[in-house]
Structure formats: structure tokens, C-alpha cells
């Protein structure tokens, strides 16, 4: 099977990728969706993010995909769109979950929910490659790899280390 080549119908004054939606200026009065992609131990990392948002007085809502191996069911996407303003997707540390969660990030962005995906360093290229293929300039943050064999405290420290960057990427 060979790939199909199309020709760009645009003025070619920008990159081929669609830029992501502009996030809100700040998170005052906004709800941050914390989307657990369903990968083991991701919940422990997200628990800490939730605490950190709470300490700053920023409202969050937790969501969880039934499996990291598929894109999120559209009911879940719609629920996030109707209840939240921005999304943080975590924590991808494998190939299929990277691909699927990047689609989720794109799908939510298309519906007006900008966000950021958190992945382990090993999947930087996979994330960038998937973004390129779907023509989307997605935002990402990378934590050390591997994460499955870390202690709870170490995972929390990963979350502490990226929290400021998370805030930066879901605000403009």
C-alpha cells in the first residue's frame, strides 16, 4: 500500500499544520479537564496534578478513557467539551497510547478545547510524527522515561517538575 499525495490548495504562506486553538489568557473561572488515557500508573501522576491545581484554586474535572489503545469514545469527548475549557492529557508512555492520545488532543482542539499532552521522553518523536501526519501543531510536555517502575513519590516529583509548564501551555 502506498501513501497518497495531495497538493496544497492554500497560499502556502504557513506550515502545513493547523495551529492549535488559542488557550484562555488565564484559568480564572475555567475548568481544567484532566484526561487519564487509561495507562497504568498514569492516575498517580494525575492525582498529583489535581492536587497542584487545587492548591492554586483552579477547578479540575477528572476523566478516564476505557482503554489507552483506542481513541476516546465520542461520548467522552463530548462530555469534556460540554464540561471543561482546557484539557491536560496524561500520561502516554507507549506507541499506541501516544498515537491515540494525540488524536484525542486534536479532536478536542477541533471542538474548541485546547490542551496539552504529557508523554514520556521516549515518545517525543512519535508524538511529533503523529502531529505531522494529521496536520496539527499539538502542544506537548515530556517527562522522564520509563515511568512504570518508579515509586509513587518519584511520579509525584515528575508532576511537580512539569506543573508550571502545564499552566503555561494551557494559557496564552
Amino acid at each position: 500500500m502506498t501513501s497518497l499525495i495531495l497538493r496544497d490548495p492554500t497560499a502556502e504562506t504557513s506550515t502545513l499544520s493547523r495551529t492549535r486553538k488559542t488557550p484562555p489568557e488565564n484559568l480564572e473561572g475555567k475548568t481544567v479537564a484532566l484526561m487519564d488515557i487509561g495507562k497504568m500508573r498514569g492516575d498517580e501522576f494525575i492525582d498529583r496534578l489535581e492536587q497542584l491545581f487545587d492548591e492554586k484554586g483552579i477547578a479540575t474535572k477528572r476523566y478516564k478513557k476505557p482503554t489507552n489503545t483506542r481513541t476516546a469514545p465520542h461520548q467522552l469527548i463530548q462530555q469534556i467539551v460540554s464540561e471543561s475549557d482546557v484539557v491536560v492529557i496524561a500520561l502516554s508512555d507507549c506507541g499506541s497510547c501516544t498515537s491515540c492520545s494525540t488524536h484525542d488532543l486534536n479532536d478536542l482542539d477541533n471542538l474548541g478545547i485546547p490542551g496539552v499532552s504529557i508523554l514520556t521522553e521516549e515518545f517525543r518523536n512519535a508524538f511529533n510524527g503523529q502531529c505531522e501526519k494529521i496536520g496539527f501543531e499539538g502542544a506537548s510536555i515530556f517527562t522522564p522515561h520509563p515511568m512504570q517502575n518508579k515509586t509513587r513519590e518519584e511520579l509525584h516529583a515528575f508532576a511537580d517538575n512539569v506543573f508550571e509548564e502545564v499552566i503555561n501551555k494551557i494559557t496564552s
Binding site: T2, L4, I5, L6, D8, P9, G135
Partner: protein, 478 residues
Amino acid sequence: MQDTYQCLLFLKQDCETCVLIEPVVKEVIDKGVDIGVFVEDDPSFYKKLSPLDGTSLEPSFKWQVEATPTLIKLDGGSEVERIVGWDKKAWHTFFQDENLGSKLPEFRPGCGSKSREPGVYENLVARFSENGIEARKVELGEWDDEMEACFERGWTDGLPVTPPTDARILRMLNGTNRDPKDIIGKVPPNLVPITVEKAAINAVMAGCKPEYFPVVLAALEAALEPVFTMHGLLCTTCFSSPIIIVNGPIAKAIGMNWGMNVLGQGNRANATIGRALQLIIRNVGGGIPGDLDRSTFGGPGKYTFCFAEDETDPSWEPLSVARGFKRGENAVTLFQGDGVQGFIDQRSSTPEQITKSLASSLLAVGHPKLAEFTNALLVLSPEHYAIYRNAGWDRKRITEELHQAMVRPGSELIQGAQGVGEGIHPSRASEMVNKFWPEGLLIVRAGGQAGLYSAICAGWTGGRFRYESVPVTKKIEL
């Protein structure tokens, strides 16, 4: 490797002449002539000839084979002679053998090469040659859905588009004699120069057939005329967008609709020509709703709004003729307008009655108390026009009488009059005021044969600047 043969022969199983000459070819091969035999459809059928697989059609394309059988003599890899079909004398001379195929008839024509079947040739150009398309390549992943890929990249108006592949673009470019590199103008709002090729890509996406492309190009040229003010029309908070009216024999030739449901869905040419212009504005010009397209409501015409005028009644002067073109000349007129305001009158039976009646509806365009503020497009139905025609009123008379019926005292229209804030400037209170500029009412005859209705499309508010924003008519160059 094809170049090392003494000669090349192109055959098809599905060609009677090819089958007829098979024994002759075998005889020539047995004598030691080094022939490269390419079979375009089923090489196994000619296995006695030890043929080469020509099913990719690349060899047929490379040697520009138009029919089978084609016999090409080579000298140092270059063609020196070619015989198409079976021609006994020519074959005798070619192989210097007076006895070849002695039992066969003198002459048999061949069949078309598979490389020349409809739609195939452009695919071969796309696949096997430098096809000259300059637009940036967008390579999709192996498992990507090409329709979804176009959505993802923001190239569509919300409906699916035909993915712009090289073969489709080349076919579209065959619809015009213009050089793909020709620049047509600058497309607002980003004022980006657009080439014929870029227009073709968007016409492919809109679903146009190549024969529609000259109409698309003419519509684009009209839209890019500065006095059409496409820039303002795109960025406006108003409802309007270009409405394309096609005149001349091309309308029938490409199957456009001017009859029943003329302003509605269902006709490919009407739908896709208008859509192509809108996609160009979006993709090349950068006119994205919510970014620089700031329309409060928009309107369904922003997907597409294009139709032909009914020129079947010789008593009616077509719009393009009224605007200075010859009858029988192909032309497009672009009007800056809104959606349809239905006009219903099933009781008026004289030209005077129907004029008053139409005038009362036309006065509502924009706002009943606004005047010389917009233009208007009146699509007159066959049944309403018949009332005029039977009384001997032509386009000129109808237009004049309608204008006359819409003159009102300024005192009733000034801001605040009749308890309504909107209106004309108070300084005009003592004038008699026209609703439209004298050239600002465009009348087109179209629609189904049955129905005592007509359609009014309000013009854009940019029309209040009488000479700065006007409808534009352009010749369609075939």
C-alpha cells in the same frame, strides 16, 4: 532496457487485430528479430510471444502509444518508424519479408490503447512524468483517510471535498488553455497571488468537472476586480457573498440549471462552480469564518450561490446583454448579495399591478426606510414575466417602471420618522427618494415554469457607495 530492442510492439488481448496478427509476430520472433512485446491487459494470453508485462501502462505512456497494435522500430534506442494497426504492405517493408501474414487481409485498424482510456492518461502523467504541478506536496500516511485529511487541514467549507490528487488537478487544467503558472490576481483578505494551478486545485476540491473550469476562472477574475470589493464582502459583518449568474451557450453546454429549483440544490455545475470560488477565497485568500470573515450570520450562499439565466424566451434580454455583452457570448455576472426573500403574488394580472406588487417587496430590501443603501437582484419567474411579456413590456420598461414605483417622499424615510430610528439622513426630508441607484436593480429571468413567485436577493450594504462597490460582468474565455 526497452531501448535495446530492435523494435517494440504493443498489444492487448482485448483487441481483435492484435489477436489476428499473433502468428505473424511469432514468425518474426522465430526468425530472430529482437522484439519487445508489451501487453497492456493480459500478458499470459500471448505467452507464445514471451511478452513483457505492460499492465502498468508505463511503456505505453513512455512511447506515447495511442492504439494497439503499435509497432515501433528503434535505432540506438530512438524511434525511427511507427506502424499503427495491421498494414500488410507496411509490415512487409518494415521486416523486409514479402510473405509475412500472406493469409491476412490487407489492412485492419487497431483499438485504442488502454493508456488513452478516459481518465487514465492524466493518471499516467501524474505517475510517470514530471507533471509540472508546483503546489506543495502533502503526503498522507498509509492508513490515513484522504477525506478526513482534508478536513483536518482546514481545507473544507464544512462539507467533504474531493481530495486534490495530481491526476485530478491535471484533468482540471485540461479544461482551460491558460498556462497553469498564469497569475489571475490577488485573493483577499490576505491578498495572495493566485495561479491558474491553485484555482484548479480548489476547483477539484469543490467537485467541478474540467469543462466548468473556464466559468470558475471567469468568476474568479470578476471577484478579483477591485470594484467588486471581494475583500470587504468577505470580511463584512453582513450576510452577503458573491452570487454568480451565468449567461450564454456554455450554461446549456455544461448542464447548468436555470429552471425548476434554480436557486436550490441538486445541479453539479451550479453547486460546484459557486463552491470553487468560495474555497479559493478560504484556502488561498485565508477567508476563514471567525478569523477575518466576521459575518454576524453568514448565509447559505456562502457555501455556493451560482445559477444560469433562462435565455430560452427570445423576447427577454439576458442580463449579460443588458450589461454590454453580445447575445450568445458567454459571461458571468457577480452580484454581492444575500439569501432569498420569497415574493408571492398569485392575484396580480396586469403589468401595472405586478410592478406595484414587486416594488412593495423590493422596498423592504435592507430596511424599508433605507434608500440608495444596497443594490438588489430580482429573479423573475417565467409566470410573472409572462404578465409583462403579454403586455409588451421588455427589460428596459420593467426596470424603469419598478424604479418609478419605488420613489417615496424623504419625509417618510428620515431617521426617526414613523417612530423608527433607522432611516435616511434628515437633510433629505424634502426630496423624493429612489430606493435603488438607477443601475442598482439587476433583473434575471429564471425558475420553474409553474409558480407565480419571484425571488429577491438583497444586495450588500457596500452598495451604498455607488461607484465603489458594483456588480461585475466578465466574458468567459473558453
